[in-house]
Amino acid sequence: MNKMNLSPVIALLDSALRLGTPIALTAIGELIAEKSGVVNIGIEGIMVIGAFASVVATYATGDPIIGVLVGVAIGALLGFLHGTLSTYLYADQIIVGMGIIFFGYGITAVGNAIIWGQPGFSVGVSTISHLVVRVGEASVSISPIFFLTIVLAILTYFVLKYTWVGLRLRSVGEDPEVADVLGINVFRLRLYATVVGGALTGLAGAYLGVDWGGRFVSYMSAGRGFIALAAIIVGGWEPLITLLASYLFGFFDALQLTLAQLYGKQVPPQLFQMIPYIATVVVFALFFRKARPPAAIARPYRRE
């Protein structure tokens, strides 16, 4: 990554894209689950586990691509857990989500300590290779996962709007009783949606682990799962607007880093670290349209 000769503005946008990507991936995944009527606040925990798993797999194999695949698989598995409990066993989805967050923070720190001797952070591992784009005289490296994120968002938009899968998915999130009467398997569809959501969140975690950082750091999701939830709400459950909102939140994070770089000597860094969260709250409150969530969101469906 050659950032020496980038202008501050391009550097800022560059890091906004990098910091927005994990939020966007998680938000798109969770949006799919929420459209089907399942809320998984456990994405915060899935993200941190995905990051850890990808770093461990890369450490073991030396191949960050395998790391990414393992992150996705673990994410899907946790989505499967949440989906099963919240559909077939009528679990309280929010509490299961909280549990996954605790579990995620805990197991990654414990695992890190077992492998690397202390819970804080792992050793560095290799990261997936980027595409290098020339911008004028300078060059910017862009992760393939960034392109994947954009493709996935457009694909989600397309599937939800134009395909029978999307129509049925939306129907079980709006009115599971009706969908069931029409022979749509509410439980299975919700489970699938939650698994897909988990997989995308796992990918977001892997991005944190073996693309952005190249090492695991405890609690490295740092509330991004919740920022993704905010992005969905600000985006009014529309995939493309949600994508934009995610990158806006990523921009705030980038702004913090850039400001800290520029003025870190004059102003204590803790104040900069508050910026992305303050900005998220402000945007969230201002753009909190009374957007209607799927009608059956977070409500377990029961037959008879």
Binding site: I41, G45, L81, L85, L89, Y90, A91, D92, Q93, I94, I95, V96, M98, G99, I100, I101, F102, F103, G104, Y105, G106, I107, A109, V110, G111, N112, A113, I114, P119, S218, A222, G223, F226, I227, L229, A230, I233, P268, Q270, L271, Q273, M274, Y277, I278, T280, V281, F284, A285, F288, K290
Partner: protein
């Protein structure tokens, strides 16, 4: 009614059991002896007089945050910002304790209340946004937690950092603001007693007062509340204020009664423990007391577990997580019980 209580208690106990079971499996896989680890956990929570006091000290903030979470959940709000409120409460208590000059006793009381006020004010923004505009409180809670934590870092590492201290912490509060110990023989802060009383008062508030009645009606059925002319908005606002006050006291009690300063990231997650406590107490405020004892055992035991047995103290988060997941599916156990019965 009694059957429902028993079912709730059974669900929580099963969940706790599953939590430890899964924890044991993970420890076994990682190459530890789970029985030895759990033994050292219990030992370092109750093994001697000194660690038992530590356990009770950890229980103190959890009772406050647990009561705060119970109020939230009773009104069907899922605000999980107690960790942030706890930190802000610690700051306001510290500022009063450090900067103001007041007679002993009164100073402690004012500083303590200031801590509650800090938590209350921190809950005002999300509370107003939720009550007035319906802005999702869970998301704002997390953002405010991180803001509070970073701001407290600023206080402890920069604004009021004590350069002579060996650990990152602020200056000490004035001796007049210190919450005294119960007795020289029992060096446990009076804050513990206050916490027990606050928890019981929360129960009284919920079940024996007009405000509590309205909170429960709004939580169970907002439509009915509307017809009965109970203002949902002001009920939400009240819940945010009272709950924030309690969570703020959790921070104040640690600053004034334990550290006498704000130590960098002093809370290992007392705000989150309160949420777990409320959930395994099934939102029964009186059950918060045993539930927070349980979580305090995990907290203080985890230190011994780490020092003595070499397992990262985050292991207790794993156990807590599994407990929550298991507690969220009461129906699974009912189905299982039915299935077992049918097999016989």
């Amino acid at each position: 009614m009694i059957r429902e209580y028993l079912r709730d208690a059974a669900t929580s106990l099963i969940a706790i059991l599953i939590g430890f079971l899964v924890g044991a499996i993970i420890l076994q896989v990682a190459g530890y002896d789970p029985l030895y680890i759990y033994g050292s956990l219990i030992n370092s929570a109750f093994g001697n007089y000194y660690v038992t006091l530590n356990t009770l000290t950890a229980m103190m903030p959890i009772m406050f945050t647990g009561a705060a979470a119970t109020l939230m959940f009773k009104s069907a709000l899922f605000f999980i910002g107690m960790e942030g409120q706890l930190y802000i409460g610690s700051i306001t208590a510290f500022l009063v304790g450090h900067l103001l000059q007041l007679p002993a006793g009164l100073h402690a009381i004012i500083a303590f209340l200031a801590g509650g006020l800090g938590g209350l004010l921190w809950g005002l923004v999300p509370g107003y946004l939720r009550a007035r505009f319906g802005v999702n409180e869970t998301v704002t809670a997390i953002m405010l937690n991180w803001i509070a934590i970073h701001f407290t870092d600023y206080i402890t590492q920069y604004a009021f950092a004590d350069p002579k201290a060996t650990i990152a912490r602020t200056y000490k509060i004035l001796p007049t603001a210190v919450i005294p110990k119960i007795s020289p023989e029992v060096p446990l802060s009076w804050g513990f007693v206050v916490a027990v009383i606050a928890t019981i008062l929360t129960g009284y508030l919920l079940y024996n007062t007009v405000i509590g009645y309205e909170i429960r009606v709004v939580g169970l059925n907002p439509h009915v509340a509307r017809v009965a002319k109970i203002s949902i908005e002001s009920t939400y606002l009240r819940v945010f204020l009272i709950s924030g006050f309690l969570a703020g006291l959790a921070g104040a009690t640690m600053v004034l009664g334990v550290f006498n300063s704000i130590v960098y990231r002093f809370s290992p997650g007392y705000g989150w423990d309160g949420i777990t406590a409320a959930l395994i107490a099934r939102n029964n405020p009186y059950m918060i007391i045993p539930a927070s004892l349980f979580l305090a055992v995990l907290r203080s035991g985890s230190i011994g577990m780490m020092v003595g047995a070499g397992v990262s103290n985050e292991m207790i988060l794993v156990i807590q997580g599994v407990i929550l997941i298991s507690a969220a599916v009461p129906e699974a156990y009912i189905l299982l019980a039915r299935y077992v019965k049918a097999r016989r």
